[in-house]
């Protein structure tokens, strides 16, 4: 039954589920890396070396989480400021890379959470549906791809934090499920289940998204033509 809730309501309903995910970078460090010990001892040059060593990976993961956004620079910088301030609490209980990646995901999530809580932003507007027969705007493939990517991130935003984390790690960042399980401290089966339901939700969202409707029709058309070819 549909019911009117209390009146009026304003802000976005942000999920408060904690993301406990992190991202697996290509480079691994030992927990006892002397560089970390030097930074913990207050050596300024060690902080910079850490930054140089990890900045590419951090910015890439920030980008994967935020999607196309002008805030990738700011969030990447914020990650390193948090690294500098929190490094003293790193005791080597886990790999530094795991610690760093968790921090990266959490800072990116904080940014998204902050953006959602800004009352003046109505970023959940229904996108305008393309007119009948209209293709994606844009003269070239890169613009079209950019629009498709934005459409996908808009749908990913609707997933719960846990599902989104697993989906971004696995499908967009290419991290194997076993590694994700280690990162999010959950059984592999749980990771696979979250991934399955995340994708299932996205399939349903794609089917209902007007911005993706022309593309979806193309894919349906491809299926139909394959049927025709298969006919005896």
């Amino acid at each position: 039954m549909l019911s009117s809730a209390t009146l009026p309501a304003i802000t976005a309903n942000s999920s408060i589920d904690a993301i406990v995910a992190s991202v697996c970078f290509t480079r691994r460090m030992d927990a006892v890396d002397p560089l970390i010990l030097r930074a913990q001892a207050g050596e300024e040059s060690a902080f910079r070396e850490l930054f140089l060593r990890h900045r590419g990976d951090v910015s890439r993961v920030v980008f994967r989480v935020l999607g196309p956004s002008p805030d990738v620079d700011d969030v990447t910088q914020d990650v390193f400021i948090h690294v500098y301030r929190s490094l003293k609490s790193f005791r080597g209980d886990s790999k530094f890379s795991t610690w760093l990646y968790r921090l990266t995901i959490n800072v990116a999530r904080m940014h998204l959470r902050k953006a959602r809580s800004r009352p003046q932003i109505s970023d959940a507007q229904v996108p305008e549906a393309p007119r009948a027969g209209e293709e994606f705007d844009g003269p070239d493939e890169s613009l079209e791809r950019s629009q498709r990517v934005k459409a996908l991130y808009r749908l990913v935003e609707g997933l719960s934090d846990k599902k989104r984390a697993v989906l971004v790690l696995h499908d967009l960042e290419g991290v194997p499920a076993k590694q994700i399980a280690e990162i999010v401290e959950a059984p592999v089966l749980t990771v696979r289940t979250r991934l399955f339901y995340a994708r299932k939700e996205l399939y349903a969202a794609i089917a209902q998204d007007p911005a993706l409707a022309p593309l979806l029709e193309e894919f349906k058309g491809l299926l139909s033509s394959a049927d025709t070819k298969d006919e005896p």
């Binding site: 039954m1 549909l2 019911s3 009117s4 809730a5 209390t6 009146l7 009026p8 309501a9 304003i10 802000t11 309903n13 942000s14 999920s15 408060i16 992190s22 207050g42 300024e44 902080f47 910079r48 930054f51 900045r55 980008f63 990738v72 620079d73 990447t76 910088q77 390193f80 948090h82 500098y84 301030r85 929190s86 609490s89 790193f90 610690w99 921090l103 904080m110 959470r113 902050k114 809580s117 959940a124 507007q125 229904v126 549906a129 791809r145 950019s146 996908l152 991130y153 499908d171 399939y203 349903a204 794609i206 089917a207 209902q208 998204d209 593309l215 979806l216 894919f219 349906k220 299926l223």
Partner: protein, 485 residues
């Protein structure tokens, strides 16, 4: 009954994981099942979109610009490490919030009949000659209220919840729209504001010290009673510590202090810069002072009996931006939990326009979780518009009258997706004569844009009473969807 595509089977089919016979079965089924073909098309489109994302190069980052800021931070951290190595803690009683090079120390707990003066900037005696004293045994802080996400150690560390304890050395970080109330001793505690970072550098029976790295911490310190009263010597003066309430805010190297009760002494490198009396403020920079919060919040649960209070948990409720419970205010973006005494309790939720939504609770020892069904709007409150006003009761009547048609939209889409549930918020602009000039989806699920479109079309036919005091009103109408089982 609508056929539900078997997603797992389609994934296996698409990944070519089926046997020849299984694949043939799915092929046959697909020829006659439009829903399954649609699902398969969505799957392949998703795969294509994911490939697009993977192919998209990460944007160029301005590393040079970033390095400047990070070099400053690295320098600050290096200095902090050096200071920590050489520091000998002065056994000040009360709470000392150290920020950058400026130390704010409790000089005296002000009695209620204190003469209130704003700020005395005259340098007075230094307090570097404090005798070394026994600070007593270590005490553990207890979380008495927590809103949103507050971490221990680092942002990747465990989150702190009501009832958790922490010891000396604890590093506590609050995220945006999150805060934490901690009890250190009976009558003494602090409130860590949103997006703040504090370390409990000392947690003893007779000494509590906090180091604020970022954000704001509001402290409340009561007299310790009996023989534990503490004296602070300053030149010829002897000041008796009774109690005080103040906040310290830090932004980079700048610090601002607000004092609501008693007074505090602000010192730098051991030299007292100012004595700030309640109600008064002091800031190392005018800008930060201007942004300093007005009233200093009271830390929750400092009463003797508070440790045995039950916990009330308030989940995030769409539309509500803050909670007020038993005098404690917290942001409502995430969950909020707090210790409350047993008995009748009035829970107040506030939306972004200041409208109050209430719930009454009879708290029992087992604790409780807020049931949103208990929330109600006080009927005598007006909906505050941008320009005009419409009585909330009148708005509600129109909405309820139009709900029948809205329900039909929902019922129609419920047939397409039987488990369709969720929340949607409509922005409704009402004109001078009460006509709906525009209605649009302002927040909520975009999974079913057709449902939103159907509903907004219905809403556009509504007519409200003409606004008073202005020519238009902008309303937000939240709708909750739940299928009847």
């Amino acid at each position: 009954m609508l056929h539900q595509p078997k997603t797992a089977a389609l994934i296996a089919y698409d990944a070519d994981l089926l046997s020849a016979a299984g694949r043939a079965r799915v092929d046959r089924h697909l020829r006659y099942c439009e829903a399954c073909r649609d699902e398969l098309a969505s799957m392949r489109l998703y795969e294509s979109l994911a490939n697009d994302v993977k192919a998209l190069p990460a944007p160029e980052v301005n590393w040079d610009k970033m390095e400047l800021a990070l070099r400053r931070e690295a320098r600050a951290q290096s200095r902090a490490v050096s200071r920590a190595k050489t520091a000998t803690y002065a056994p000040l009683l009360g709470i000392a919030a150290a920020a950058a090079l400026v130390a704010i120390t409790v000089s005296r707990f002000g009695a209620s009949n204190d003469v209130h003066e704003p700020v005395d900037n005259t340098p007075v005696a230094t307090n570097t000659q404090m005798p070394v004293q026994d600070d007593g045994a270590e005490v553990r802080g207890v979380v008495m209220a927590a809103a949103g996400l507050v971490h221990r150690d680092s942002l990747s560390g465990a989150t702190l919840s009501v009832g958790d304890t922490f010891s000396e050395g604890a590093h506590i970080i609050s995220e945006e729209n999150s805060e934490l109330h901690a009890r250190m001793l009976e009558g003494t505690g602090f409130v860590l504001a949103s997006a703040s970072d504090v370390t409990v550098t000392k947690s003893r029976e007779r000494a509590v010290e906090l180091t604020l790295a970022k954000g704001e911490v509001s402290s409340q310190v009561h007299h310790l009673g009996g023989e534990e009263r503490y004296l602070i010597h300053a030149a010829d003066y002897e000041v008796r510590v009774r109690g005080t309430r103040f906040s310290v805010k830090r932004d980079a190297d700048n610090v601002a202090v607000s004092v609501d009760e008693g007074f505090v002494e602000v010192s730098k490198h051991g030299e007292v810069l100012a004595v700030v009396r309640a109600p008064g403020q002091w800031g190392s920079s005018g800008d930060l002072l201007a942004r300093a919060s007005g009233q200093v919040p009271r830390a929750r649960g400092l009463e003797a009996s508070a440790l045995s209070w039950p916990t009330l948990t308030l989940p995030a409720v769409p539309g509500i931006v803050s909670w007020i419970v038993d005098g404690t205010t917290a942001a409502a973006v995430g969950a909020f939990a707090l210790r409350v005494s047993t008995g009748t309790l009035d829970v107040v939720g506030i939306d972004a326009r200041g409208l109050e939504i209430h719930a009454s609770y009879n708290m029992v020892n087992e604790g409780a979780v807020l049931d949103t069904a208990h929330l109600f709007v006080r009927p005598d409150r007006n909906v505050e518009p941008r320009n005009g006003t419409i009585e909330a009761a009148a708005v509600r009547a129109v909405v309820m009258q139009g709900m029948d048609r809205v329900n039909r939209c929902y019922a129609r889409w419920l047939r397409v997706r039987p488990n369709l549930e969720g929340h949607m918020r409509l922005r409704v602009n009402v004109g001078a004569h009460g006509q709906v000039e525009d209605a649009m989806l302002n927040m909520g699920s975009t999974e079913f844009p057709q449902l939103a479109q159907c509903i907004t079309e219905q809403v556009r036919s509504w007519t409200f009473p003409a606004p008073t005091g202005g020519s238009s009103v902008s309303l937000d109408v939240p709708l909750d969807f739940a299928a009847q089982r």
